[in-house]
């Protein structure tokens, strides 16, 4: 990385000692405390950190776009030689968009829904380049082509709702590029997108940055994205940058204990089936920042000095500095995974299936006209067959919109099924009345994705957990209060919460704790099967590790079976015994974890796996570019659903849907490549 040192001579953006606080009543809560960094032209600085560490506030402060409660307490932001914090507002407007531009996390809300794409581009072009009339159109077409939008002529006149998620993010990038900024701030630009789209967008960002020699400030929580994109990495924790290093040094020898923990908390093959490293405790709240090192309370290596005095920057290598009192490189704390690997049966499933889903279909009618006649069907789930034995985990993987959540809800009978059968312990669930279903309900439960939406904010934790027991009239727990209270306390302890939590309300808990409560609610009725719908996708890495550990502990202790719905392959690899890959309502490949993840056979599985950014430098797989996006299930392509995006598609693929090819006793795939 010697060339970086030369590039660094001339900084495009230099931030010194920037402090941001949020006004809360009469007091100011410091969100960002004296951070400093620099970005050179053509360089990508990745700010890495968990939610609430102040990385988005930093980005907004650079543009002076903090919300009304936000205050910049001090510091200096010099951009191309000008101090932005002292610029009058009128000049600042020229800097926004013209000097530096920002891409936001959620493409769906960052475009104005009532303006056409062309209008939104023209707005920037008029303001910053002073173009008018035909020049705007020509330049807009150029920009849309540059961000890889096919048929830009037509797209120019379209509204955001006519575009897919990935396309919206491309338009957002085009809008950001329109003012010819010298610095691009990307705030979690791919977090809301699927892996295949994420790979496309990251590739696009890399390309436009190289073409225009822009500086880029990339804000992310995903180590995989960092590994792909960054030139240098800054790790933020509780409003401070605790480590800053060039990418190679960062991945080869991270120095701060927090960075270590972040790496260790990532689920991956090496720790498969074992326990993940977790960071005990939580990020300290803004109102109660500890005096010394902010990480001291959660750090395994903390000693007296850490608690008394905040550490200063220390150079530990070329361009690599760290804020830590530990003089020597802390010895790598390896996870205990190697010793705790749980023997997992890998042979064919001998046990009788707990859950058997055969040919499950969920079709939503599309109604039109006055009489609301169905004119077609959205085939959200179209003939899915699964089997799951007691104590095992089956992962259902796919991009958003492929119908995996619908499968989960249809198994629970929360949605009306259109066909097929779901048998639990040999008993049919489809077509049963609510009364008949009730005794079966306690055998299967669900954990939802968003721990903030899955708990009723108006009910105490005890009531939330007790609700299921009460509704299902659990045997052994009579509706007498003391007994139920004891049961609730027991289940809270089981998920690692204080039994006293029963009297508190959801808003008093953090995301990870809420997810534990949701798990406790499901466990309270002693189910055999738990359907986990992306239970960790809304959580930070360190919290995700806690939840995954908890889930695997519970599986060992209680013999639970999990149907794990996710799009995160690292989690699948860590937790699952078997994997089913879904595409457009159908399962295209199914097998054990090793079969599907180590030797994927379906072109879609391969593309999906290659698109997952790996948080290791050495192991970046060759990226199979998957063109386009997942088609609408209301109007799937004829033949094999995947053929328009498949590089290996041939004539039969366009004509009929492939049958099931059995590759081994457990491995099946639906593709014409395998007769």
């Amino acid at each position: 990385m010697s060339q970086e040192a030369t590039v660094n001579e001339e900084h495009l953006l230099e931030v010194r000692d920037l402090s941001i606080a949020f006004a809360s009543g009469r007091s100011l809560l410091a969100a960002v405390d004296g951070i400093g960094f620099a970005v050179a032209a053509g360089e990508t600085l990745a700010l890495l950190g968990e939610s609430g560490c102040g990385k988005s506030a930093t980005a907004l402060a650079l543009l002076r776009l903090l919300p009304t409660a936000g205050r910049i307490l001090g510091g200096e932001v010099s951009f191309a030689g000008r101090d932005l914090l002292r610029l009058p507002e009128a000049e600042m407007r020229g800097v926004r968009g013209g000097g530096m531009a920002m891409i936001f996390q959620e493409p769906a809300t960052s475009l104005n829904p009532v303006l056409t794409v062309g209008r939104q581009l023209a707005e920037v072009l008029e303001r910053h380049l002073g173009l008018a009339g035909q020049a705007i159109r020509a330049r807009s077409l150029e920009l849309l082509t540059a961000v890889g939008i096919a048929d830009p002529e037509r797209r120019l006149g379209e509204y955001p709702f006519q575009l897919s998620g990935g396309m919206k993010q491309r338009v957002m990038i085009a809008v950001a590029l329109a003012g010819q900024p010298r610095l691009l701030i990307a705030d979690e630009p791919t977090t809301a997108l699927d892996v295949t789209i994420q790979a496309q967008i990251l590739e696009l960002l890399r390309r436009v940055q190289a073409e225009r020699a822009m500086g880029m400030l990339l804000i992310t929580h995903d180590l995989g994205v960092v590994a792909q994109m960054a030139t240098r990495v800054g790790v933020m924790y509780a409003g401070e940058i605790v480590e800053e290093a060039p990418r190679a040094a960062f991945f080869a020898s991270p120095r701060h204990p927090y960075t270590h923990k972040l790496f260790a908390a990532l689920p991956d093959l090496a720790r498969r089936g074992g326990r993940l490293e977790t960071i005990p405790g939580q990020v300290p709240p803004l109102s109660a920042m500890p005096g010394g090192c902010r990480f001291a309370a959660r750090c395994a290596h903390a000693w007296d000095l850490c608690r008394q005095e905040a550490p200063q920057w220390r150079e530990v290598g070329p361009d690599h500095r760290v804020r830590c009192h530990l003089d020597d490189e802390p010895e790598r704390v390896r996870s205990t995974g190697s010793e705790a690997v749980i023997a997992r049966a890998t042979g064919p499933l001998a046990a009788p299936a707990l859950l058997a889903v055969a040919d499950l279909c969920v079709h939503f009618p599309i109604r039109r006209g006055i009489l609301q006649r169905p004119v077609g069907y959205v085939r959200a789930v179209d003939g899915v067959s699964l089997e799951l034995a007691r104590g095992r985990t089956l992962a259902l993987v796919g991009e958003s919109g492929c119908g995996k959540t619908t499968v989960g809800k249809a198994i629970l009978q929360l949605l009306p099924t259109s066909g097929g059968s779901v048998r639990l312990l040999g008993q049919e669930l489809v077509g049963q009345s609510r009364r008949e279903l009730r005794p079966l309900r306690r055998r299967l439960q669900m954990i939802f994705q968003d721990p903030f939406a899955s708990l009723n904010p108006r009910m105490a934790i005890g009531e939330i957990i007790g609700e299921g027991m009460r509704a299902l009239a659990m045997p052994g727990t009579h509706p007498q209060r003391p007994e139920r209270a004891a049961a609730i306390a027991a289940v809270l302890q089981q998920v690692g919460l204080d039994p006293a939590a029963a009297g508190r309300y959801p808003h008093e808990f953090s995301g990870g704790q809420r997810q534990r409560i949701a798990i406790a609610r499901a466990l309270a009725v002693q189910p055999d099967l738990v359907i986990c719908d992306e239970p960790t996708s809304a959580l930070d890495v360190s919290v995700q590790a806690q939840i995954l550990n908890l889930l695997s502990d519970l599986q060992v202790d209680l013999g639970l079976a999990y149907l794990f719905i996710t799009h995160n392959f690292a989690v699948v690899d860590h937790l699952a015994h078997a994997v089913a890959v879904m595409y457009l309502g159908r399962i295209v490949e199914q097998g054990t974890v090793d079969e599907v993840l180590r030797s994927p056979q379906h072109p879609y599985t391969r593309a999906l796996l290659s698109a997952v950014p790996s948080p290791r430098l050495e192991a970046q797989p060759e990226f199979i570019r998957l063109p386009g996006e997942i088609p609408s299930p209301a109007n799937p392509p004829g033949g094999c659903h995947f053929h328009p995006r498949c590089r290996q598609a041939s004539a039969p693929c366009r004509e009929r849907y492939p049958g099931t090819s059995t590759l081994s006793a457990t491995h099946t795939v639906r593709c014409h490549l395998y007769p």
Partner: protein
């Protein structure tokens, strides 16, 4: 005396009961407690709440009715048997009437200006001259009660009024000062700090309750109220109306009517709006279609026409069944209730639509699905999961609707389809005063008094509504 419970009295006290139950529930539920504490910290909210409380107290005093026992008339048979069958007046009085007896009974002949000692219009008076001859003269007659204590010395009126006002202001200061000192002492004891610190906390608004706003509002009320009370003992502070009734008395009586209209109407409307809105949103399908159809139809009928038709029908019904009512008050009361009812029927659609939309959003949330996965019954899901999460909308709507209903009553009475003409309300006062505006010299005091009181009431309600909305709306208060 015999207590009389009018229908509206029952409903009002039921509302008081409901409010106390709600208060008790809010105390137990930490989320609601937090929201009410936010209201408590809002200065405009607390000041207006203080003013509203005074209005409500007047209204409640006016909602305890009785029929006074008539004096045994001499002509009736004297005997032990008749002593038991006491005779009661046909007039229904309230506790407020009792307290305001002097105001109520001291009626003049006709109009008189505020604080006047003589009537507003000239009259022919026969005066016996010194020489014993009867002479007819036209002049402003002396009022029977207004300034009667002055006797012949009418010129002393201004000095008397000024003296009374000054004395009242002094008293007001004294009362306020002792109230403020008591508050500070209480705060000092609660928070274990010195009186000086307690004072500072009150004035810098550092306590949990916006005490300074409450004290300021009390100061304002005392400074206005005490002089009024002082003067009202011997003058007609706001003058008298056409039949010589004291306008201050009418204004105070109007408060109850306004409160009944504002509160009872919401009571009529709430159950319908909540039930239909939640059911439509939760069950969707044909239930939703039916309810939507119902409220779209209802809200497209011009409200005034519907109200006029219903009130006229009610009037006919009342007129044809005089035997239903023992007293005129009962008849007027029924008409008031009918008005509340019909206003309620026409005004539930807005809240219903709001609640339906919110329920549509809520039912897709994951905690509802989790409950469904437990096989919890629909009714229980509505009661435990949906309804509590709609409460903030209901509370906001309740407080905001109040002021618009008070205004609606005034308009309807003005149009002539409001409350019974014998019932005193802001609307009837305005209606009676409107013709007199054209008189020369103008009779302005009726209208002005009604305007000032109604304005204060509605302003206080609106400010409180704002504070409540800010405190309860989850979008404005962040994630809590």
């Amino acid at each position: 005396m015999a207590p009389v419970v009018l229908w509206s009295d029952g409903l009002i006290w039921l509302l008081v009961l409901a409010a106390s139950v709600l208060g008790w529930l809010s105390r137990r539920n930490p989320l609601w407690r937090a929201a009410w504490q936010r209201v408590g910290r809002s200065r405009s909210g607390m000041a207006s709440a203080t003013v509203l409380l005074v209005f409500v107290c007047i209204g409640l005093l006016d909602s305890l009715h009785y029929r006074p026992r008539l004096e045994e008339s001499a002509g009736r048979g004297v005997g032990t048997a008749s002593e038991k069958t006491a005779v009661y007046s046909v007039e229904v009085l309230s506790l407020l009437d009792f307290l305001l007896t002097p105001l109520r009974t001291r009626t003049e002949k006709t109009y008189s200006e505020p604080l006047a000692t003589r009537a507003h219009a000239k009259e022919s008076i026969k005066v016996r001259d010194a020489d014993g001859q009867l002479r007819q003269s036209r002049e402003y007659p002396r009022l029977k009660h207004g300034g009667a204590h002055l006797g012949a010395d009418e010129a002393r009126r201004d000095a008397d009024v000024a003296e009374r006002v000054l004395r009242a202001l002094g008293l007001a200061m004294l009362v306020w000062w002792s109230l403020a000192a008591a508050t500070a002492a209480l705060l000092a004891r609660r928070q274990h700090c010195s009186h000086r610190q307690a004072w500072r906390r009150i004035w810098h608004n550092e306590s949990d309750l916006a005490c300074n706003a409450v004290l300021a509002a009390i100061a304002g009320l005392l400074l206005c109220g005490l002089p009024l009370a002082m003067l009202a003992t011997d003058y007609h502070v706001f003058g008298t109306d056409k039949v010589g009734q004291d306008v201050l008395y009418q204004v105070l009586k109007s408060i109850r009517t306004a409160l009944v209209i504002g509160l009872v109407t919401t009571l009529v409307m709430l159950p319908v709006a909540i039930f239909l809105g939640v059911v439509a949103g939760y069950f969707r399908g044909w239930v939703d279609d039916l309810i939507q159809y119902l409220y779209t139809t209802l809200s497209s009928i011009p409200g005034v026409l519907l109200i006029a038709a219903a009130v006229l029908m009610m009037q006919v019904l009342i007129d044809t069944h005089p035997q239903w009512f023992a007293t005129a008050a009962e008849r007027a009361d029924l008409r008031l209730l009918a008005l509340c009812f019909i206003l309620g029927v026409t005004s539930w659609t807005g809240l219903c639509r709001l609640l339906r939309g919110e329920t549509l959003k809520l039912r897709e949330l994951e905690y509802i699905q989790a409950a469904q996965a437990f096989g919890v019954s629909d009714l229980r899901i509505i009661a435990r999961h949906i309804f509590p999460n709609l409460m903030h909308i209901v509370i906001i709507a309740l407080v905001m609707d109040f002021s618009s209903l008070v205004l609606a009553e005034a308009v309807l009475s003005y149009v002539g389809i409001g409350v019974d003409p014998t019932m005193i309300s802001f609307g009837t006062m305005i209606n009676n005063a409107r013709l007199e505006l054209a008189r020369e010299p103008m009779v302005w005091w009726s209208l002005a008094a009604a305007f000032v009181f109604m304005f204060t009431l509605v302003l206080a309600a609106n400010l409180l509504a704002d504070a409540v909305r800010d405190a309860f709306d989850p979008r404005l208060t962040g994630s809590a």
